[in-house]
């Protein structure tokens, strides 16, 4: 009897618990791709080539210095916002190059739909990670794919500043970027950029012609005055770029809501704008020279 009990106990103690086998994942379908262009139109190979070509400009011409890069998460989505400047903006490529080189994470840049409509430039912009600024696109990039997304809340008003208005942040629209980040459940990470304003400063904006051509502005830049009208559109002045990443802003609201309180959204957007403006002033106070930092 006793020995019988022991063997039963031993048998019970040694028995393995049978876990139900999970349903097997369906086999992935064959996908005979020939290029690495992803669903947004971005190609990592073309980005690598672009980074190789851009590196001399980044390292030696603009001599870009970052502060606070560790605040950008290595995993998970975040909405990067920055001040926008230069008649043909130089800050977007600098930020994307810097983060992709240092952190090894792809960055997608949200920009106006009108890039899609430009031949050649539109395709190059898409292959470099440009995505049209539609809320659906932003939601999918941030919430579902947890990507880093760069957006400039000043919109076209930022680069349209003349030299006299430099570093005075324009209004951040209606705070749409905050709502996008809230709905996607990701933090907003402000980046203060010093140097872009002086890389292609607008001396004068030609009136009437911009409306006629459907452009946001028609600038006369210092580059054009120095290098001529055509070369002045591509040649940047060698301003020293300093970028400071501010603390990520987390919103204490649940994601995926139908609507968010408009007043809360605008308050948060204004708070971020004020922080960014303060950071810019601080960096400008410490800056001794436009060209050497």
């Amino acid at each position: 009897m006793a020995s019988g009990n022991r063997t039963t106990e031993a048998a019970q103690a040694g028995t393995l618990v049978h876990l139900p086998r999970p349903a097997p994942e369906p086999e992935p379908l064959p996908d005979p791709r020939r290029s690495d262009v992803d669903e947004w139109g971005r190609s990592e190979k073309m980005r690598q080539l672009a980074r190789q070509l851009y590196a001399p400009l980044y390292d030696n011409w603009f001599r870009v210095e970052w502060e606070g890069l560790e605040k950008i998460p290595k995993e998970g989505g975040a909405l990067l916002v920055a001040n926008h400047a230069a008649a043909i903006p130089s800050d977007a490529p600098v930020i994307m190059h810097g983060i992709e080189e240092e952190l090894g994470r792809p960055v997608y840049g949200l920009a106006d739909h009108l890039f899609k409509g430009m031949p050649v430039i539109g395709t190059m912009w898409a292959r470099a990670g440009g995505v049209a600024a539609h809320p659906e696109n932003a939601y999918r990039l941030l919430r579902e794919q947890q990507n880093l997304v760069l957006v400039f809340p000043e919109g076209g008003k930022g680069p349209g500043k003349t030299y006299g208005q430099r570093y005075q942040l324009r209004r951040f629209g209606r705070g749409g970027f905050v709502e996008i980040a809230m709905r996607a459940g990701v933090p907003v990470i402000p980046i203060a950029v010093v140097g872009a304003e002086e890389s292609m400063p607008i001396v004068f904006k030609v009136p009437y012609v911009d409306k006629m051509l459907g452009l946001p502005y028609v600038p006369i830049t210092a580059n054009m005055l120095l290098f001529g009208p055509l070369l002045g559109l591509v040649a940047y002045l060698p301003a020293k770029f300093k970028l400071r990443v501010l603390d990520p802003v987390h919103f204490d609201v649940p994601p995926d809501q139908e609507r968010y309180s408009k007043s809360k959204v605008m308050d948060e957007a204004e708070a971020i704008r004020v922080d960014l403006q303060e950071a810019l002033y601080e960096m400008l106070r410490a800056r001794r020279s436009i060209w050497f930092g």
Partner: protein, 345 residues
Amino acid sequence: MGKRVLVTGLSTFWGGRVAQALERDDSIEMIVGLDTHEPKVQLERTEFVRADQNYSILARIVKATQVDTILHTFLVVDSSRMSGSRMHETNVIGTMNLLAAAGAAESSVRHIVVKSSTLVYGSAMQNPVWFREETPRPSPPRTRVERSLIEVEGYLSDFAEDNPHVVVSLLRFSNVLGTDIVTPISRALQLPVVPCILGFDPLVQFTEEDDVIRSLEFVVQHELPGVYNVAGDGRIPWSETAAICGRRLFPLPPYGTAAAAAPLELLGVVDLPPELLSLLRYGRGVDNRRLKRAGFQYRYTTAGAVQNFAEASRLRSTVGDSRPAYKYESDVENFFRHSPAVVRD
């Protein structure tokens, strides 16, 4: 009691093939098909009724046969096949007659499945990259086919609201490529050089022919209510699509594209309707996850569909079309279906 199914557009590419697929399903008791022309594929047990352009006989047929499912494959989505006004009439009036028959008092219809198209989303500059079923289109439709499809979908949603006892399944299919189907895109991809628009390389999405048939079967069997996008996974650049087909691209000018494409149509080379030119400029993507969540499994991704098409057209150009053309003979079909001499089990 099996399902009793009415298929509209039996002579179209899709109607015939879907009827063939449904015939293999034992849970479907009876299939009757309607069209102005005879079926182009061989059918075993589908009854064919010739109808007029506007399907006015449909109400009588529904009443007489007591069908519980209507599968509407008759919507014209290829605007190169017929004139704009005829297409509009076929789509709109045909659907209105169908809905009138289905919604009549005492009607036995409990399920309507409609084969629509992602053309309802359009290809405009302001479009998002991915359209979910409920995403609204940012700009109004500019082409005739889009307008007629949107009107038809409007009638369907009104019908669904007014008749809660009828399950309405609306499937929006992206551009289709496959072994047999001929569309303006498939013809463009079989030219020695494939047209594109200079400076644009949009991302496009395709569904494979077989996945179309299987998805229609799936929806009929499972009676899924609502709207579903049907498209293969992934979007690929148009240049890559041409590369998989082994073709080079030839560019049309980015401004005045329609004017440049007109000579191609006149010469009979390839027809590039305005919605296709928009597609070649901006592309289109639809989110296909809702149907996948309902249990449907695709067999081809977008790239897989293009490769399958490329292989099939390579085979066809080498050995020609191996199957003999089918001709429908009504006396023979009647004999097989109704003659007492045929042994039935």
